[in-house]
């Protein structure tokens, strides 16, 4: 079996599995005052320091959450609500955001008096910096642009955009779930106010993530209760999840330079061999400013979900983009925003590599692909 879907979820690092299992054997609520509680709290706080250190943040800037979707929702809704009182109700968001941002913004527009300016991207998926600058203004509550796109892998100029936003007093959020472990990510150096990460994209557990949130960034909570996380997020902390997230983040960040070099070489080989095998395949996204493990193609004349089914039957596991809850492959909003029509946007496949990927995975894909494309082509 060839698993080429690391952008959906990458296998847990053995060290992270061990860390989660170890913490699961311990009893304790990190908010309890007795010795057992203190032990749990120590694990949580050490984990917080580990995550902060790995990503250039202060420990007090790490808000543990249940994953990327919660972090995105907390950043977008929480910062919007906190700023709405100041008369700032417009949101700037790129047109290629993940649904966790996209749908949160649309919900605020539909129910909470927000308006939105969708930031266009070019045909490589890059946010238009001039359009961003033009869209800024003193009515803007926040701006949100992902670090790297989950479908086509395009990396945005986050530092530049964040600086522009700050000139207008606008806080800047970035969804970096795909970036951590694949690209150098430093919260302070990037100059952003809020940053989303999640465990299962970097070798940690599912259901554990964090929002890095600057100390001076006002954010209204989504979850009310015990106020465990800086009063911004309530809920008994998931000590094993937090521990596993921290161990995985530290390792992923430490290995990032080597991982990026290895994955980029493997990815470039994959791209070359796919194009050799299927000459009419179209390579999407930015060829240079790109996640090292991402390769994204359109196969004109084919339905992406037919290709997926046929590859799956041959033991090659890929994705058509980001699947919605019912598993229906709708035309990708990312490709549509990049100027492709609905038919082209349904003909795509994403191959994503990660820490366990090998050249054998690429071999299996390239061996299966020509016959599969031939069959799926109308």
């Amino acid at each position: 079996m060839a698993y080429l879907d690391h952008a959906a979820s990458t296998p847990m690092l053995p060290e992270a599995v061990e860390a989660v299992a170890e913490a699961m054997r311990e009893v304790g609520n990190a908010s309890s005052l007795h010795a057992t509680g203190r032990r749990a709290r120590r694990t949580v706080e050490e984990s917080r320091e580990t995550v902060a250190f790995a990503l250039g943040a202060r420990p007090s800037e790490v808000v543990f959450t249940a994953g990327g979707t919660e972090s995105d929702n907390l950043a977008v809704k929480g910062i919007y609500w906190a700023r709405r009182a100041l008369g700032r109700t417009r949101i700037l968001a790129s047109a290629v955001e993940h649904h966790a941002v996209l749908d949160a913004v649309e919900w605020l527009v539909a129910h909470e008096g927000a308006s939105v300016t969708w930031l266009p991207v070019d045909d490589l998926g890059r946010v238009d910096v001039d359009a961003f600058e033009e869209a800024l203004g003193d009515d803007v509550a926040l701006a949100t642009v992902m670090w790297a796109n989950n479908e086509v892998g395009t990396v945005q100029q986050v530092r530049l955009l964040a600086d522009l936003a700050h000139e207008h007093g606008v806080p800047f959020h970035t969804d970096a779930v795909q970036a951590v472990g694949q690209l150098p990510v430093d919260f302070a150096a990037a100059g952003v106010d809020a940053l989303t990460l999640t465990g299962h994209k970097l070798g940690g557990p599912l259901g554990a993530g964090a929002l890095l949130l600057g100390r001076d960034v006002a954010c209204t909570p989504l979850l009310h209760g015990g106020g465990q996380e800086r009063d911004v997020r309530s809920g008994t902390l998931d000590t094993p999840g937090v521990h596993g997230l921290a161990v995985a983040t530290a390792i992923a960040v430490e290995r990032q330079p080597a991982t990026a070099l290895r994955l980029q070489a493997l990815r470039d080989e994959l791209v070359k061999r796919v194009v050799d095998a299927v000459p009419f395949a179209v390579y999407n996204g930015d060829p240079v400013h790109r996640l090292p493990g991402n390769a994204h193609f359109s196969f004109p004349g084919c339905e992406g979900d037919s290709l997926l089914l046929l590859l799956d039957a041959r033991g090659v596991e890929v994705s058509t983009g980001s699947a919605c809850s019912s598993g229906v492959a709708r035309p990708s909003h990312v490709l549509v925003a990049m100027g492709q029509d609905g038919t082209a946007a349904r003909s795509s496949l994403r191959f994503s590599l990660g820490h366990t990927s090998t050249v054998e995975d690429v071999d299996a894909l390239v061996e299966a692909l020509p016959a599969v494309v031939e069959r799926a082509r109308r």
């Binding site: 979900d305 037919s306 997926l308 089914l309 046929l310 799956d312 039957a313 809850s325 019912s326 598993g327 229906v328 492959a329 709708r330 069959r375 799926a376 109308r378």
Partner: protein, 346 residues
């Protein structure tokens, strides 16, 4: 064989997929996403279009142990079934959307794609027998769906597997229960799947707007209506007339928006004229056989002769409330011979 099982999320299609897999076929499950904006949860007696139904289908596939995918056919369904449904009513006819869905979506778009992808055919949970290309009624006459499958051509039937034909619904449910399928006791679906609240007239009014016209009996205006599309031949309720004996819709004339009504006896039809037929088990004309004129309707002995591109079907006993747009299906006892769309009646 490599078979593609169309799985609605209901018990019938789950058991059909199960039986196909158990008898040694290489089965892949597919749920057809037909709604443009599916609801999260199932409501009322709709049976296939919510995300809950998609999940039920996925769970059944997991239990059976077969691969499972969701195919988005919302655009084809909208164009071939929903838009057709509205257009047919607007033209004064009474379409059967389940027939249209089988003809244009399940056994056309889906079958085409299955064959293209290297499958040998499709499996569905319809209650009808299909053996060596011959379609006939289900062992469970209450649940028989041979009528809505009669539009399939011999080529389509050759690539179709119907594992439930010899089973009653009770047997299907009992097998589902013993195999651990959670959908074993899921209620049957009845209503038109794309009309959430079952209010067909309201659904049509939203799309066609108010089109007032006269209700006429024997050439005399006896009432008025908001849209002729809200009526179907044979309908008694909703006319808003106060007459000593019940009045029924006899005919609908869409251009002048005239709905003609009359007593029950005036509904009797002795001859049905159709458009071009689809023969599933070809016979030569003239032909003595029986005919069914609507889903779950009565069966009439008849003589079929050619009439233009279609048939003239002379009924031995009068039929009541036959609507243009419905499908006439010919049977030889329980065997389906062919079908054609009803154009007019006398």
């Amino acid at each position: 064989m490599r078979l593609l099982a169309a799985m609605s999320g209901g018990v019938d299609s789950a058991v059909a997929a199960l039986l196909a897999a158990r008898s040694g076929h290489d089965v892949t499950g597919v749920h057809l996403a037909l709604s443009q904006s599916p609801a999260a949860l199932r409501s009322g007696s709709r049976g296939c279009c919510s995300r809950e139904d998609a999940r039920d289908a996925a769970r059944a596939a997991d239990v059976i142990g077969i691969p499972f995918y969701v195919w988005d056919l919302a655009e084809q369904f909208q164009a071939s079934v929903v838009d057709d449904f509205v257009a047919e009513y607007a033209a004064g006819r009474t379409p059967n959307p389940c027939v249209r869905c089988n003809e244009k979506v399940k056994f056309a778009a889906v079958l085409d794609r299955a064959l293209q992808l290297g499958f040998d055919g499709v499996v569905t949970g319809h209650h009808a027998r299909l053996s060596s290309g011959v379609l006939s009624r289900s062992a469970d006459l209450e649940k028989d769906q041979s009528y809505v499958l009669a539009v399939l051509s011999p080529e389509q039937l050759a690539a179709t597997v119907l594992p439930l034909g010899a089973m009653t619904k009770a047997e299907v449910r009992s097998l589902a229960r013993s195999e651990g399928l959670a959908v074993a006791d899921k209620p049957d679906s009845h209503d038109i799947c794309f009309i959430a609240d079952g209010d067909t007239a309201g659904f049509l009014r939203d799309r066609l707007g108010s089109q007032p016209g006269d209700i006429v009996e024997d050439g005399v205006v006896v009432g008025s209506h908001d849209g002729a599309y809200a009526f179907t031949v044979g309908q008694r309720r909703g006319l808003g007339l106060s007459r000593p004996t019940p009045r029924y819709v006899l005919s609908i004339e869409p251009v002048s928006r005239t709905v003609t009504v009359g007593p029950a006896a005036a509904l009797d039809v002795s001859t049905v004229f159709t458009g071009a037929p689809v023969w599933s088990s070809p016979r030569s004309l003239p032909l003595e056989c029986s005919v069914q004129l609507r889903a779950h309707g009565a069966v009439h002995d008849c003589v079929v002769t050619p009439e233009g591109a279609g048939w003239s079907v002379a009924l031995r006993s009068p039929a009541r409330g036959v609507a243009a747009g419905q499908t006439a299906v010919l049977y030889d006892r329980d065997t389906v011979l062919g079908s054609a769309t009803i154009r007019s009646t006398t």
